[in-house]
C-alpha cells in the first residue's frame, strides 16, 4: 500500500495575516508550518498502511522558497519520504496550478494506490485543489471523508453529507479528502523528530518535472485582483461582567427581539 499525502506549508495561522502591497497576495515570507488540516490526512495514511500490513507514505508539497519545515512535521509523524517542488515561478499559484504541480509529484512518486488531502487548506481554503488533482491524474475522488478503509483493490469511505453520510466505494487508485477531527493525529516523539531529519526529502524544480513556468504561478492563474477595500466594521455593543445574573440580561435581550 503506497499512500501519497498532500501537505501544505502555510504561515502560522495564529499570526495575523498581511497582504503584500505589490502582488496583492498573502505574505508567505515568514516561517511556514504544516497546515493542521493536513495532519489528519497524514495520520489516516499511516493508519491505512499499518492496517494493510505494510507499505509506505510519501508526502508531496510545494513551496516557492525552499521551505521544508512543514514537510518535516509530517515525516516526524511517520511518513517515509517527501517530494517538494520549490521554484520562484510558483509564487501566486492558484489551485489549478498547484494541482498541476502536485500531479507531476504523484506521477514521480510512482505506483501510488491512494492520494489523500485535506478537504481544504486553512489559508487559501478554496477546496478545489484535490478534485482538480484527481481529474489531472485520471482518478476517481471522494471528498469529505469521515471514515476510510481499503482492501487493497478498492477504498470504502463514509462521506459527510448535508443530511448525514453516504457510503462510497471506488476502485484504487483513487483520491480521498479527509475532514478534520476524524482521526487523532499522533504527536511525534523526540526520537521521531530526530529520525525525520534523516528521511529523504527530494527537492525539485519545475524543470525537473518538465513543467512550464508559464503554466503555474501568477501567469498560470490567469486572474487579477481588481480592488482591496476595508469592510465596514461591525461595532461592539454592550459588554457586561457576569455577576451571577447576566443570563437575565440575555433573556430580556431575546425578549426584545421577540425570539422568546
Amino acid at each position: 500500500m503506497h499512500v501519497a499525502v498532500c501537505v501544505k506549508q502555510i504561515p502560522d495561522p495564529a499570526a495575523p495575516g498581511e497582504l503584500d502591497a505589490s502582488t496583492k497576495t498573502l505574505k508567505r515570507a515568514g516561517k511556514l508550518v504544516m497546515d493542521d488540516s493536513d495532519s489528519y490526512g497524514v495520520e489516516m495514511a499511516l493508519q491505512l498502511v499499518t492496517e494493510a500490513g505494510g507499505g509506505s507514505v510519501t508526502v508531496i508539497s510545494m513551496a516557492p522558497n525552499q521551505e521544508v519545515k512543514g514537510v518535516k512535521d509530517a515525516l516526524a509523524m511517520g511518513a517515509d519520504k517527501a517530494i517538494v517542488v520549490t521554484d520562484d515561478a510558483l509564487q501566486g499559484s492558484d489551485s489549478l496550478s498547484t494541482a498541476k504541480v502536485l500531479a507531476a509529484c504523484v506521477q514521480r512518486a510512482g505506483d501510488v494506490d491512494l492520494v489523500l488531502a485535506a478537504t481544504e487548506s486553512t489559508d487559501g481554503y478554496t477546496g478545489t485543489m484535490p478534485v482538480q488533482l484527481a481529474e489531472l491524474l485520471g482518478l476517481p475522488s471522494v471528498t469529505f471523508a469521515k471514515k476510510v478503509s481499503t482492501d487493497g483493490s478498492k477504498v470504502t469511505v463514509d462521506r459527510q453529507t448535508e443530511a448525514g453520510y453516504d457510503e462510497i466505494e471506488a476502485p484504487l487508485p483513487a483520491l480521498v479528502t479527509v475532514t478534520a477531527g476524524v482521526v487523532e493525529p499522533r504527536y511525534p516523539s523526540f526520537k521521531a523528530i530526530m529520525a525525520a531529519k534523516n528521511k529523504p526529502v527530494e527537492l525539485l524544480s519545475l524543470a525537473d518535472l518538465g513543467l512550464d513556468a508559464g503554466s503555474v504561478g501568477w501567469a498560470g492563474a490567469r486572474q487579477e485582483i481588481t480592488a482591496i477595500t476595508e469592510a465596514e466594521a461591525r461595532k461592539a455593543g454592550e459588554v457586561v461582567e457576569d455577576d451571577g445574573e447576566a443570563h437575565t440580561k440575555i433573556v430580556s435581550y431575546l425578549e426584545n427581539l421577540k425570539v422568546v
Binding site: 493542521d36 478554496t126 478534485v131 492563474a221 459588554v239 457576569d242 443570563h247
Partner: protein
C-alpha cells in the same frame, strides 16, 4: 458590453434543489442576459422552482448511483462543445457543486475563483468579491480573459427572490466517457435524524467553542438551541478536536450563517470563525476572557463562565 448567458449548477436537495441554487439563480439573472441551469438527481423535478427564480432552460444529468461530480462536469463540458460556452458558470460552495467546479476547471484548463460572496458586472466581465481576514477586508478579483468564467459562490451571498417565471423546458444532457474517474459509487445513504431547523436556515444559531472544555458540554449548546427553536453550530477548534461533525462548523472552512440571533458560547472569535457569522443581525457572546475578539463584534457580550451562564440561561428559558 453586458454579460451574456450564465449557467448555474443547481445542487439537488430534499426532492428539489438546494436553497443555495435558488440564491445563485437570483444573483445570476441580475448579471447575465439569460440564465440556464444544470442539475441532476431530484433537481430534475424542480423545473417549476427553477423557472420561478429565472431559469429559462434546465439541463439534467442522469447520475444513477454514481457520485455525481465527475458525470455532471463531463456533461457540462460536452454541452459546451455542442451548444457553445456560456459567458460564466456559477456553482454554490456546497458538497457536490464545489467538486463539479473543480473537475470542470481541470477538464477545461480554466482557473476557478472560490469563496465568492458577491458578483458584479464590469466592462463585460464578472468581478467577484471575497472576504478575507475574518471579513475585515474585501478583495475583488476577475479573470484575464478566460471563458467561461468559473465561480464558486458561498451560500447566503444572494437572497433568493422569485422572478415569477414559469417552468422552462428540460433537456437531458449526457457525460462523455469518464473512464476511471467516474467509478465512485454510492453504496448506501444514511440520513441522521435531526430535529429543528438546518444550521444555515435557522433564525437562531447557538454555537459552542473550545471554552466548553470537553465534548460532553456540547449537550448544553444543543439544549439551548432546541429551546430557542434554533440550530447548534460549532467553531473549527471543536470540529478539529472531533467533538462534533464537520457539518456543524461555522466559519471560513465551514458554513456561512446569517440568523436573526447568533449566540457564541466559549468562542474567542478567531478570524476563521467570524467570517462565517458576522452577517448575523444580532450577536450575543459569552466568554470568560474579556479580551476575546468576539466582544468586538457582539451586540451583547457577557464576560463570564459558559458553564455557569448557559445552564442558568437554559433554566430561565424553561421557566418561561
Amino acid at each position: 458590453m453586458p454579460v451574456g448567458k450564465i449557467w448555474v449548477v443547481a445542487e439537488p436537495a430534499e426532492g428539489g434543489v438546494a436553497t443555495a441554487a435558488l440564491e445563485l439563480l437570483t444573483g445570476a439573472r441580475g448579471l447575465g442576459s439569460a440564465v440556464e441551469v444544470v442539475t441532476w438527481g431530484s433537481g430534475a423535478q424542480a423545473a417549476e422552482a427553477l423557472g420561478a427564480h429565472g431559469a429559462t432552460a434546465v439541463f439534467t444529468v442522469d447520475t444513477g448511483d454514481l457520485l455525481p461530480a465527475v458525470l455532471v462536469a463531463s456533461a457540462i463540458a460536452a454541452a459546451i462543445e455542442a451548444k457553445g460556452a456560456p459567458d460564466a458558470i456559477l456553482a454554490a460552495q456546497t458538497y457536490e457543486s464545489r467538486d463539479i467546479a473543480g473537475r470542470l476547471s481541470a477538464k477545461l484548463d480554466l482557473p476557478v475563483l472560490t469563496n465568492v460572496v458577491g458578483l458584479a458586472e464590469d466592462g463585460g466581465r464578472l468581478v467577484s468579491e471575497h472576504a478575507i481576514f475574518g471579513g475585515a477586508t474585501m478583495v475583488n478579483a476577475a479573470f484575464n480573459g478566460t471563458s467561461p468564467q468559473l465561480f464558486v459562490v458561498r451560500p447566503k451571498s444572494f437572497a433568493a427572490e422569485s422572478s415569477g417565471g414559469s417552468a422552462p423546458a428540460t433537456e437531458a444532457i449526457t457525460a462523455g466517457d469518464t473512464g476511471a474517474t467516474g467509478t465512485a459509487t454510492v453504496k448506501a445513504v444514511h440520513v441522521e435524524e435531526r430535529s429543528g431547523p438546518k444550521l444555515d436556515e435557522a433564525a437562531v444559531v447557538v454555537s459552542g467553542g473550545r471554552g466548553l472544555g470537553e465534548k460532553e458540554k456540547f449537550d448544553m449548546i444543543e439544549a439551548l438551541a432546541k429551546l430557542l427553536k434554533g440550530a447548534p453550530g460549532a467553531s473549527r477548534a471543536i470540529v478539529d478536536a472531533g467533538w462534533v461533525p464537520y457539518a456543524y462548523q461555522v466559519g471560513q472552512t465551514g458554513k456561512t450563517v446569517k440568523p436573526t440571533v447568533y449566540i457564541a458560547c466559549g468562542i474567542s472569535g478567531a478570524t476563521q470563525h467570524m467570517v462565517g457569522m458576522k452577517g448575523a443581525k444580532h450577536i450575543i457572546a459569552i466568554n470568560k476572557d474579556s479580551e476575546a475578539p468576539i466582544f468586538g463584534i457582539a451586540d451583547l457580550g457577557v464576560v463570564g463562565d459558559v458553564h455557569k451562564v448557559v445552564p442558568k440561561l437554559i433554566e430561565a428559558l424553561k421557566a418561561k
